[in-house]
Symmetry: C2
Subunit: 115 residues, 2 copies
């Protein structure tokens, strides 16, 4: 059964579930930075321009609650914290890639004053 067979109300329900999980301006950018290899708090912050420590801290907690990332205290000296994306988080990647692709095209269209 493919998605287009679902009743519209179901589609919207699932869509809203997803929107809730990724809500806000920052969760996906943070995830993107982590897909690309950033695992330290400061690295992530540097990659996601303009995000403040307070907001990043909150987003990381939200992502952890949703089981999309894992926070680990490394047994090193001095101790460091590393965040890693879970396999589950990678199930979001096709969607994120599609969003990047759309955004890139969209920006070109806007430059042309759109259609």
């Amino acid at each position: 059964m493919h998605e287009h067979d679902l009743p519209i109300s179901e589609k919207i329900k699932y869509l809203q579930d997803t929107l809730f999980t990724i809500s806000g301006k920052w969760k996906l950018p943070v995830l993107m930075a982590m897909y690309s290899g950033a695992s330290r708090f400061t690295d992530i912050q540097r990659n996601v321009a303009a995000i403040t420590t307070k907001v990043l801290s909150k987003e990381l907690k939200d992502l952890e609650e949703h089981h999309l990332i894992v926070r680990e205290v490394d047994r090193t000296y001095p101790q460091t914290i590393s965040y890693t994306v879970t396999p589950y988080a990678f199930t979001l990647k096709p969607m994120v890639d599609e969003m990047i692709s759309w955004g890139k095209t969209h920006r070109l269209k806007i430059a042309d004053k759109l259609a």
Copy 2:
């Protein structure tokens, strides 16, 4: 050139463009209702459960500004208003379908107490 060749800063920029365009809880559910054929204000409102007229009105204006829908006054008597999705709006559909698909799976995982 594929998306994974882009520098991370570019990816995040495009991602944020897309997030900005679809921002909020309602734009995509409204678009989904319209993909499925709803074209009248009341029809859309009935399909997108719990959305208020004020919010729907605002979302429709936003979507129109982004050239994703078109508002038309039908030359009927009495006059009716119809909203239709533009071809451009359909370029978002793969992303929306992916979100529906992910949300469906996600809901199952949550039911299983997730992984």
